[in-house]
Symmetry: C2
Subunit: 436 residues, 2 copies
Amino acid sequence: MEQKTSQNTTPSTPKGFRDFLPEKMRVRQYVTEVLMDVFESFGFEPLQTPTLEYASVLQGKYGEEADKLMYVFEDRGGRKVGLNYDLTVPTARVLAQYQGKIPLPFKRYQIQSSYRAENPQKGRYRQFVQCDVDTFGVSSPLADAEIIAIIYTALKRLGFLEFKIRINSRQVLFGILQDAGIGDKKLQLSVLQSIDKLGKKAEAEVEEELTSKGLSSDGIKSLFEAIKKATPDENLAQMFSYLDQFGVSRDCWEFSPFMARGLDYYTGPIFETVLEKPKIGSITGGGRYDDLVSQLGGPNVPATGTTIGFERICDVIEELGLLRDELEGNRGILVTVFSLELVDQSIKVLNLLQESGNNVTLYPDPNVPLEKQLSYANKKGIPFVVIIGPDEKEKGTALIKDMESGEQETVKQENIGKAITKQAIEFGTKAVVVLG
Amino acid sequence: MEQKTSQNTTPSTPKGFRDFLPEKMRVRQYVTEVLMDVFESFGFEPLQTPTLEYASVLQGKYGEEADKLMYVFEDRGGRKVGLNYDLTVPTARVLAQYQGKIPLPFKRYQIQSSYRAENPQKGRYRQFVQCDVDTFGVSSPLADAEIIAIIYTALKRLGFLEFKIRINSRQVLFGILQDAGIGDKKLQLSVLQSIDKLGKKAEAEVEEELTSKGLSSDGIKSLFEAIKKATPDENLAQMFSYLDQFGVSRDCWEFSPFMARGLDYYTGPIFETVLEKPKIGSITGGGRYDDLVSQLGGPNVPATGTTIGFERICDVIEELGLLRDELEGNRGILVTVFSLELVDQSIKVLNLLQESGNNVTLYPDPNVPLEKQLSYANKKGIPFVVIIGPDEKEKGTALIKDMESGEQETVKQENIGKAITKQAIEFGTKAVVVLG
């Protein structure tokens, strides 16, 4: 009974919110680092906006459904504020607020949390990291191609081997719809939403949906035929040639005329990436949205960009245990403390190991028996343990213990940096697993 | 009139919340990177907690004053939640929630935003990054010394030359108070708060304050005398000897018997760092707090650690223009696009530059005249511009223009990586300014 009470009062995070303990943090840091590195190599610059925005900036931008999922409240001054729902609306605000101060083209990336009060479910969280890369102020398909080159480079760098970037164009689709006699903009967008479901739903189901939207059975058939026969327009063809120049492998992208993207605001090329192995669906989504920034309260600037599914990528890496060994290298080395009298020896070896570029954990309590320190290393999965006892002190040596194999090696203290690095490389080589 | 209206509606961030445009972000990324690197080199592990906590986790932990500054609200499910006010309370929750799953000692660092509805003023923001490094589960002064070694290493690595880490011990201070006949715990803490002001306020003022707390004039005099003559106790002496072993230079720390720290919860060694040049006061603060984690709802574990003043450090670096040139290196290279026909040449050179490890901005619009592309480089402070026109294409070369000196150099395209790196190093060497 008492235990139950105490369990009930165990503090926890609110539903849909997560702690990231070190092991998970390492995956997130690794993914962040790779992405930032790629963005920076293309000259994209970092931007960060605050967690709180005025509610007036956030609301009424993405429809009622989104407004319902926003964390909006009154602060102590009675001002209505909210947690950022995505990164596009805050960026549109930045472009409006600093107009004239940010030179265009503005190539920026933004990796930070967004907040949505959705029903938590597998892979869906109320606080989640979004990663957006966009170019503002350029209409040329060169900018679109560059975004795709970034996606390609980032996924390769993350170790994904089999993925396909599906590319299409809203202009191509609108042209086909126009030719099919569907001229009303609203109906066009509604039809595109149905067409976008073709990959996920049965053709009959999509046909039914289109019928309910007022299309005739013959009309639907000839529409599907027309899309099937679609070819890239001049703008898209130009973009494809840029992809070759950027070195984006032809195996990794395809012209995908039925891919329409769900959101209304795209105006030109659209693209999404499907991971084929493991088969987990789309991990990037984006395209050109020349009218959106001004609709969101920003200046009238053309824009193109993509979201990279940060959470999904981290989940995949973690679920499949990929990179486990690459990350293991981070767990480094435990320098034990033999006794109160020998603390100086341990600190000396710690310094030597750090100087040779190693991350080292000193066991920070000389009152704990060595045996317990070793079991600590085991619990934490630390691959190497260093021991300096009275014998080692006398001879100026240190004992390195490989916790996996149990093998031990005695080395001169001044050589310990080199010795561990050598072992770590051997360890690393035998253990590296390539993703995919 | 119309303009005024449009100005009034220019969107902005809520008071006390900030955007970080690329230039500021680079400073923050640099400081974050250096700190993380140092923490990891000592085997400290990353932890991240969510932005939202249950209000019951946050409230009533640091007194009424703090509760008034918390962003607390009801979510749509009617649950009271709040934005994290600091990183210590969430960590105490983590230690309680994952008890038994996190092996002790737990050495963790945490760098993330906290939120306080304070009156915004220079250097004080409502959303600010906190940086905490702590060891949980160890009573030994070795753990305290290690925290100080981390502070020392981090500040050195950030380029600060003249700073002093002031060290004292609550145990020493409590002993002196006891000897002076001040035995009541509450009075002891109140007296310590006054004594801590001695560096900042006139002695007479502090004496007055102590008188109002019931101390006699003679009592105050002999108390000051006793503190002046204070010597480290055994625990502190042990810690000092560890500092030597860690290689913390004697010039950078001092036993500072009047330094008492403001917060009530410290139980052992306490330490803070004062930057002497530029003279901006304290940039780190911490100490041992063996009872706090359980008071905050966590398990009963000893703890020691420090806060590093992330925002203050970034402000100093920025205000003084320090690191400007080091960060300039990040702005890299602009590859211009001469014309629609020569886009392939520019992408080729972009690829070559990236392969040799450079961050490169491709001007993503071939329809913009070269002149405008050059003025874009100027506006953004990009030091190098690369041009490939028809002549260069024919000869397989590229023109590198140093935007500062105006000097130009023509190099073979395949050598451009080396050529730019050489120039950048020369540029870097002449421009590097060391902080301090």
